[in-house]
Amino acid sequence: MIALLLGAALAASPAEAYAEGIAADRAGELPAAEGHFRAALEAGGVDADVYLGLGNVLYRQGQRPAAITAYVRGLWLDPSHPDLRANLDHSLSQTADRIEPPAPDPGPFFWAGVGSPRLQVWAAGLLAGLGLLRVGVRRHRGQRALDGAGLVPFFASLLLAVGVGAMSAGRPPVVVGLTEVSVRSAPTPGSVEVFVLHAGAVVAVEEEAGGQTLVVLPDGRKGWLMNSALMSADPGAPFPAVEAGG
């Protein structure tokens, strides 16, 4: 396993590591495929498709909470990815807790939740560039540089940028990694158990303190549980190691 992971880590680029992961997956070499997908992530390929491949490999190895974590991470990068959404829904249908996973919340900037945030950043840059180009052309022609129509691309660019900013400011959820975990009223030993979560439950995070996380259920119930019981769905964080069969 170490050799596999080491070999995967030496892959030249995220794209190559991803391609090797796909090939290993299709050959049925699931641990090797997992190593390649992890290597792709570590090489900077923090990509929704890489998380889809990693999630599928983990799912087939019976590591459902880790697979759900991968799918949620991928959807955090690209909320409109249909395959990720389908596989996440299917995986969640096999969990014990019926909880709707929290999605990136763009607030009033609803359009930010439609497509990939990365594409929206590119679009914002392109619109700003086109706006500036128009200003230059008008100046060159001796016309007034900035008129009403000329403000439109800048305004659209600003809206896109602010929407992506609002999306990115949201805290990614966490996934319960243990079979069953007690959620308590306070992060202290004298607290009481308020409810129980099971493996694969995806819950929103409100606060972290002292090695514990305050999670919130969709119905508003809150409680603290140990960080060691959770896997972060932050797509930029290192993907947690999982034990076989977990």
Binding site: I22, G45, D47, A48, D49, N56, N87
Partner: protein, 538 residues
């Protein structure tokens, strides 16, 4: 260990079990909530609550509550039951015994007083509950009808349905409710009927418990309230119950059951009609098969076409419509069957045969539709279908491929999908035109600066030659060009007269310069005056 034992003992001692009933005095047919509360402990499974034969208990659910008082949290698990009074008498519920943490908890029994059918206090109210057939066959649809009559004006009628033990409610039609006025004993009665369609489901003896009706009726014994000029008739709540109905659900006979029995129970009629019109080989013709009767048609299917039929058959899902009429429950299923002939000539579609159990006859009967004859013309290809491979529906269920998740694509373009990773590129995209704009502005500025003649004059003024005659010549040139700039005229054509419009000082400066250069005049303050003249030029 000792501490653990102490905690265990403490928790066990704190645990308690209670039975709580909403009301201990009921009338026959009335249902109330009964809760079993386990305080300070948890247990698995649903506790068994014993009840006397005149009562019926049905588990309704379980809930849990945590209460924290003075930093002490207590958990209460509540098991909820629906308690229905079936007959008059004095009955008990409980005691309930539960094993919790090795300790037996006991909830004391509660006594329930059930009074007889609430006879109306008034002779002008009446309610009756009847079943259309007290000895139905299993699978048969029967109707339970509650008729409430009142001569007096009533309001706020509500009813608790009985427990239809041994029956399932037929879901294809809503519970029927009608209101009418009937003549009886020379008086007009308001009649309200509630009809519930039921499917007999449990073979054997059952009891449909009484239904409880609550109405508000005028209370003639109390005076009208007369405040503020309004007269309100006081009302009183009357509670009435129907009689319990004893039922014996009979099993379907095993003798004479056809091998192709469809599972339907009821008196049905079967009709098939084809839409008229010419048909060619390979074309489809629609046949409507209508199955109607007083039984439930949920899940009804038509028999498949014969295997050697010279046509193919495709069935749509049937449209089922049910209603409650004067004669009870009636249901109709319309099957759209597409038939595709595969050979030209005379085609006779044989009758569709459907085996059902008829409760009225008490026997299995086979329904048959009329045969349908078609004249099939040659198809567009001129003859029979070459691809014909036998009758019946050849389609199969969608097979699973063995993978329940969607695979990742090998063609995916892998990059960094985080929005911050796109930021440098996006900024560059915006910066390129911005840089071009800045360049354009700089170039324009330089052009303006280079073309500014006044600025050039000032630059020359700062670099005058040191030799006196050359310096004087340069001063004259500068003065002449500055004047030309001010006048908007070419410098070479200027003389004293031309400069005169610029003012006396300018004209005298020009004259003094000429005198100094060509006539040996004084030049002491000339340079200062020229500098001032040039500096003022824009």
């Amino acid at each position: 260990m000792i501490a653990t034992l102490f905690l265990w003992l403490a928790s066990a001692l704190a645990a308690d079990l209670h039975l709580v009933v909403d009301s201990p005095r009921l009338v026959v047919g009335q249902s109330v909530n009964l809760n079993l509360q386990l305080v300070g402990a948890t247990a698995s499974g649903v506790p068994d609550v014993p009840a006397s034969s005149g009562l019926k208990l049905a588990f309704a659910g379980q809930s849990q509550q945590m209460v924290s008082v003075n930093f002490k949290t207590t958990r209460t698990v509540t098991y909820s039951y629906s308690l229905t009074a079936l007959q008059e008498g004095r009955f008990t519920v409980g005691p309930v015994r539960m094993q919790v943490g090795g300790q037996e908890l006991v909830a004391d029994a509660v006594t329930i007083e059930v009074s007889g059918r609430a006879a109306p206090m008034r002779a002008d109210l009446d309610v009756v509950g009847t079943l259309s057939d007290p000895a139905p066959y299993v699978g048969e649809v029967v109707t339970w009808v509650m008729r409430f009559r009142s001569k007096a004006e009533v309001a706020g009628l509500s009813w608790n349905p009985p427990d239809f033990d041994g029956f399932l409610q037929e879901k294809s039609v809503e519970v029927g409710q009608t209101s009418s006025t009937v003549e009886s004993d020379g008086a007009a009665w308001q009649l309200q009927e509630v009809t519930v369609p039921l499917i007999a489901s449990g073979v054997g003896a059952h009891t449909i418990s009484p239904a409880l009706i609550t109405v508000s009726v005028p209370d003639a014994g109390r005076p009208r309230r007369d405040r503020m000029g309004f007269g309100f008739q006081p009302t009183r709540q009357e509670r009435l119950t129907t009689a319990a109905v004893e039922v014996n659900i009979r099993p379907l006979p095993t003798t004479g059951r056809p091998a192709d029995y469809s599972g339907l129970v009821g008196s049905f009629k079967l009709q098939a009609r084809a839409n008229p019109g010419p048909v060619k080989v390979g074309d489809s013709i629609s046949v409507d098969v209508v199955l109607s009767g007083d039984g439930s048609l949920s899940g009804a299917k038509l028999p498949a076409a014969p295997a050697d039929a010279s046509y193919r058959v495709y069935d749509d899902a049937p449209q089922i419509q049910s209603r409650l009429g004067p004669d009870g429950f009636v249901s109709t299923a319309i099957f759209k069957r597409a038939i595709v002939p595969s050979a030209e000539g005379r085609l006779t579609i044989p009758p569709i045969a459907l085996s059902v159990f008829d409760p009225e006859a008490g026997a299995y009967v086979t329904l048959e539709s009329e045969p349908i004859a078609l004249d099939v013309a040659p198809g567009d290809g001129g003859g029979a279908l070459t691809s014909y491979a036998g009758g019946g529906d050849q389609r199969a269920e969608v097979a699973s491929t063995g993978s329940d998740i969607l695979p990742a694509s090998a063609e995916a373009a892998i990059g960094d999908d985080r929005p911050q990773s796109a930021l440098p590129g996006a900024l560059a995209l915006a910066a390129l035109p911005a840089l071009a704009l800045v360049g354009q502005s700089l170039q324009s500025l330089r052009g303006r600066r280079a073309a500014d003649p006044a600025r050039r004059l000032r630059e020359r003024l700062a670099a005058l030659p040191a030799e006196p005659s050359a310096r004087l010549a340069a001063l004259e040139d500068l003065t002449r060009e500055a004047a030309a700039l001010r006048l908007g005229r070419p410098a070479p054509g200027l003389d004293a007269e031309a400069i005169a419009p610029l003012g006396e000082a300018a004209a005298r400066l020009y004259t003094d310069l000429l005198a100094a250069r060509y006539g040996g005049g004084q030049i002491d303050d000339l340079e200062r005056r020229v500098r001032a003249f040039v500096e003022e030029t824009r």
